[in-house]
């Protein structure tokens, strides 16, 4: 228990340092992008947040498979917590994406493949949380949610494929074509590290909170 506490404080500290570093890099160090100007700096926020959202949903997928296989509620707690964090980050992706789209594309929203995929992803995991809250008991909710997570995660590539074929007008992914200068790449890497650390911290906190909730309701049952 004690060690866990120290680990969490350490992780919190690391995340703090990384974020201060990231802020320095984003606002003071990295050069302004030529065509998009100052607004392009939201890229260093938007991309890491999107990465964390996908990571979170991948963890939900793994946790759900392990839960259905092993029937250990530990995996369900991890999947559930990760889904909550993932939904928050997907919301942030949609918001930062819109803020970026307005000055660049002239509209808040366009039915562009990645935007639309993110929206569908968001809806699927909202459904995941709703199913759990509508279930008549905890265990059943956990099983149902796990099934939704597995089906939902497998659906994502098909959604992306269909939407890409439906609307092809987006700027291609620049990151992998060497379109980023070294300072930009460095800033992006630090930002990704900062957000990934923050995700781990949030996940660990949420998992321990959920475990405490389970413990409290168990004690309540014993005393009543």
């Amino acid at each position: 228990m004690k060690e866990n506490h120290i680990f969490r404080i350490g992780l919190g500290g690391l995340s703090f340092i990384l974020f201060v570093g990231a802020l320095y890099l984003v606002f003071l160090y990295v050069p302004t992008e030529e065509t998009m100007g100052i607004v392009q700096r939201i890229f260093y926020f938007h991309v890491p947040v999107a990465w964390v959202a996908f990571l979170a949903f991948f963890i939900v997928f793994l946790g759900s498979i392990l839960y259905l296989w092993k029937r250990d509620s530990k995996w369900d707690v991890i999947a559930n917590s990760s889904a909550e964090v993932g939904v928050v980050f997907t919301t942030l992706v949609l918001i930062t994406g819109s803020i970026w789209a307005k000055p660049i594309w002239g509209v808040w929203w366009t039915w562009e493949p990645r935007l639309t995929t993110a929206l569908v992803l968001w809806l699927i995991y909202i459904a995941y949380l709703i199913v759990r809250s509508f279930a008549t008991d905890e265990q059943r909710g956990a099983r149902f949610a796990a099934v939704v997570a597995i089906v939902g995660f497998i659906d994502v590539p098909i959604v992306a494929l269909a939407i890409t074929l439906w609307r092809t007008q987006h700027p291609g992914p620049i990151i992998f074509q060497g379109g980023l200068t070294p300072p930009m790449l460095l800033t992006l890497i630090v930002c990704v590290a900062a957000f990934t650390t923050l995700y781990s911290l949030l996940l660990i906190q949420r998992v321990s909170m959920k475990n405490d909730e389970i413990e409290i309701s168990r004690l309540q049952e014993l005393s009543s």
Binding site: A127, V131, F144, A146, V147, L161, L165
Partner: protein, 222 residues
């Protein structure tokens, strides 16, 4: 093939009860017609706008009709306590899934077989073999995930609400591809122009038939 004999027994049971009550096919068909008529008011009825929005109207209608009929599929079982009966039968859960899935597929295809000509008649469109193939493929995808989620939704509170919330985001790829492919089919595109859309629907069908088959047991255990 003992597996298929058991499957057919379940599908036959559904078909028989449907033949006696005509509950699902009749009410969903009326609902389908109502939606088509209401869309007609929403979009105005000039010939050009119709050609543009017809595929969209068709698939929104079929998706909603799917939700409605899939919901009934397990609610009927639950209300009369038949689900418990099915579960104590000496058959695997997978048999129940395939049996119920084929039953829903049958009902949906009957509804669509009646609704499609009426749709073509009202909107002044020409039906083609392409449209029939698209409809069958897309419906297989609908019932593959729909049966799984219907069995799940029936065991929750507010069960009529849960199915559409789960079902609609998952079938987004089918709706996109079916709308696109139907639009192309209605404007007289050859098969080659439709192939990439049909491939995605086909892939969706294959993937979700397998996945639903594998995870169905977790939805109705206990």
């Amino acid at each position: 093939m003992r597996f298929w004999r058991k499957v057919i027994a379940i599908t036959w049971k559904d078909a028989l009860s449907e033949m006696r009550t005509k509950e699902i096919v009749f009410s969903v068909l009326v609902f389908t017609l109502l939606v088509i008529v209401i869309f007609n008011f929403a979009f105005g009825a000039t010939q050009e706008t119709m050609a543009l929005v017809a595929p969209g109207i068709l698939w929104v209608t079929f998706a909603f009709a799917g939700v409605l009929s899939l919901n009934r599929s397990f609610i009927l079982e639950k209300e009369e306590g038949c689900l418990e009966g099915l579960m104590v039968c000496p058959i695997s859960r997978e048999v129940i899934y395939v049996g119920k899935m084929l039953g829903s597929l049958l009902f949906m295809l009957i509804i669509e077989a009646i609704a499609l000509p009426i749709f073509a008649f009202l909107f002044n469109l020409v039906l083609s073999l392409q449209l029939v193939v698209i409809t069958v493929l897309a419906t297989v995808g609908f019932v593959a995930v729909g049966t799984l989620f219907s069995a799940l939704a029936v065991n929750t509170r507010a069960r009529e609400m849960v199915l559409p919330i789960l079902f609609l985001p998952i079938v987004v790829p089918i709706i996109i591809c079916a709308v696109k492919a139907s639009g192309l089919a209605l404007s007289g595109e050859p098969w080659s122009g439709l192939s990439s859309w049909l491939q995605i629907i086909g892939a969706f069908d294959a993937i979700f038939l397998v996945v639903s088959f594998l995870v169905f047991a977790f939805v109705i255990e206990e």
